[in-house]
């Protein structure tokens, strides 16, 4: 009996998914649940080793989960793996096209594999493919990093997938190319394709509608980037002085400091709000740093970024 996909259901649903390796010795993913809505751009934000790739491999039916259930476009990732393989596009973190086929040959190959042709879905890839066209006879292995990434996206899109899985497409890519890649994704989203994307770059979280912050195989928080930032439970200050390195060392040595992390040329600081170590506020910090020889201390209250939230959640998770 063949299952059918339900067009009104969520694009991706995970329910208590778990995966271990080496007979349970290594926990890759633990009790992960979330869903991706139709047409949503959903980000999995976390570092190397967080479990992102294991989740992608489970959802694309390349790996069996040990616990939990998951569906893609309504199809079960275990029972209905054949159906899923025909309707998803997957761009793995490692470049996985045929290095010794040309750009054009790769695109044609993947179109044929999915029983379609480049012409049939050309609309979907046109924006990206025109940038590749001057190199269409070049072997994929000889392309630059940015071009390889565009070709891989074309090949993942060629059969007009219901759901697009992109595993760290921007890792190691310079900031200009990263921006261009996200602009391409925004245009794809407008075509109604649900996208699950992972990235270790915290700033890219802002480009997603909703995000899951993932670390050590567990989800720490799921929400819109705005809500996650609003939920930051402390007042955050940015402190600045000429010698940022020793400023941070000196802030760490103060009893009033609850947390203190380098952010560019500033230090982001939260203070203890109760007990004897409590600081009255910004004036106390400035006075303490002046006393330690920082003549030019500036401090101001700021709104937290996703990276601030991630670091704080990591601390709570370890505690």
């Amino acid at each position: 009996m063949k299952s059918t996909s339900n067009p009104t259901s969520n694009a991706v649903v995970l329910n208590g998914i778990g995966k271990t390796y080496e007979n349970g010795a290594v926990v890759a993913v633990h009790d992960v649940s979330f869903d991706v809505r139709p047409g949503e751009l959903f980000g999995l934000i976390g570092p190397d080793g967080a479990g992102k790739t294991s989740l992608f491999r489970i959802l694309t039916t390349l790996l069996l989960p040990d616990a939990g259930t998951a569906t893609v476009a309504g199809y079960d990732v275990v029972k209905d793996f054949r159906a899923i393989r025909g309707i998803v596009g997957y761009m793995p973190g490692k470049f996985s096209l045929y290095q010794d086929l040309s750009v054009e040959e790769n695109v044609n190959f993947f179109a044929t594999l999915f029983g379609t042709s480049v012409d049939e879905n050309y609309d979907l890839i046109r924006d990206i493919y025109v940038q590749l066209e001057p190199f269409k006879h070049r072997r994929a292995g000889k392309l630059s990093g940015g071009m390889k990434q565009k070709l891989a996206l074309c090949c993942a899109l060629i059969h007009k997938p219901h759901v697009l899985f992109l595993d760290e497409p921007t890792t190691g890519v310079d900031p200009v190319s990263r921006k261009e890649f996200w602009e391409m994704l925004q245009r794809l989203k407008e075509q109604g394709i649900a996208i699950l994307i992972s990235t270790p770059y915290m700033d890219e979280a802002m480009m997603c509608e909703r995000i899951a912050l993932i670390q050590g195989g567990s989800i720490m928080s799921i929400d819109t980037p705005e809500n996650i930032m609003q939920a930051f439970p402390a007042t955050l200050y940015a402190v600045r002085a000429t010698d940022a390195y020793h400023l941070r060392m000196d802030l760490l040595a103060e009893a009033f400091t609850e947390s203190c992390h380098a952010f560019g040329d500033e230090v982001h600081l939260t203070l203890h709000t109760e007990g004897i170590a409590k600081a009255a506020g910004m004036e106390d910090v400035v006075a303490a740093m002046r006393a330690r020889g920082h003549a030019d201390v500036e401090i101001r209250e700021i709104a937290p970024s996703i990276e601030d939230c991630f670091i704080r959640l990591m601390g709570q998770h370890h505690a």
């Binding site: 190691g172 270790p200 390195y245 952010f263 560019g264 040329d265 990276e307 991630f310 670091i311």
Partner: protein, 247 residues
């Protein structure tokens, strides 16, 4: 910080008709953290290879730690440390074997290697992992170990080619603590990165576009010059006009 440890004058590298690096000139003083930024394909790796004695320049001049890149590449290789994201450690050797191997490569005596290994393992808190294969360590530990191994012969200059990709924000900051501590001891750090907040940790930053250096200044002055709130905006402003995208 007056001693200039890296000096380049109109340093260029051509591959046939292609100008990979186009007359770059700059000085780096001892103890500076010098950020070497550029888009993919801007020529950073080629420039770094010339400065580390791995690639002979086509024209111009450069000295590294007082040695000439044209005539003394072997002396340069012995004097500098080098770490890249792509290749640093042998995954199928243990932590201690890697340290011993690289200590040997740099000509340290057995007793010096033993002493250095013990110190380094203690500093990194890797006491429980010395017999583990490097391939089994988390990426963040590998990166910290690779940095320490690149410093095992007490180089005056260390070249770091995208050392921190992919790790969590706390581990990335711990890595920068190691960099700051080394710079504090007078080691010159020459670093490339795609994280623009890390560009802000550098004392000075150069931005390469299509083989040439388009800007070089402190992060604060760069932001002022280009009226940009962040280094990300400065970078975008300078690099978006790039014609090249080859790696």
């Amino acid at each position: 910080m007056h001693d200039v440890v890296i000096r380049t004058q109109e340093l260029s590298k051509h591959f046939g008709a292609f100008v990979a690096v186009d007359k770059i000139s700059f000085d780096v003083p001892a103890g500076e953290i010098f950020g070497f930024l550029g888009a993919n394909g801007a020529g950073k790796t080629t420039a770094m290879r010339m400065l580390s004695g791995l690639s002979r320049p086509t024209s111009g001049a450069a000295t590294v730690a007082g040695f000439d890149v044209f005539t003394q590449p072997e002396e340069i290789k012995r004097t500098i440390g080098y770490m890249s994201q792509k290749f640093s450690l042998y995954e199928d050797l243990t932590v201690r074997e890697n340290i011993t191997f690289f200590g040997g490569i740099y000509g340290l005596s057995d007793s010096a290697i033993k002493e250095k290994s013990d110190l380094l393992i203690e500093q990194l808190g890797l006491q429980g992992e010395v017999k583990k294969l490097v391939g089994s360590l988390p990426l963040g530990w590998k990166q910290k170990l690779a940095f320490s191994v690149a410093m095992i012969h007490d180089p005056k200059i260390v070249f770091l080619d995208e050392p921190t990709g992919g790790v969590d924000p706390l581990t990335r900051r711990q890595f920068w603590e190691l960099i700051y501590a080394a710079a504090d001891r007078g080691v010159t750090i020459f670093v490339t990165t795609h994280y623009m907040d890390e560009a802000e940790y550098c004392h000075r930053v150069s931005i390469m576009v299509d083989g040439a250096i388009k800007a070089l200044d402190t992060p604060r002055d760069l932001k002022q010059t280009y009226q940009a709130p962040t280094m990300d905006a400065v970078f975008y402003h300078l690099a978006r006009g790039a014609q090249r995208s080859a790696d």
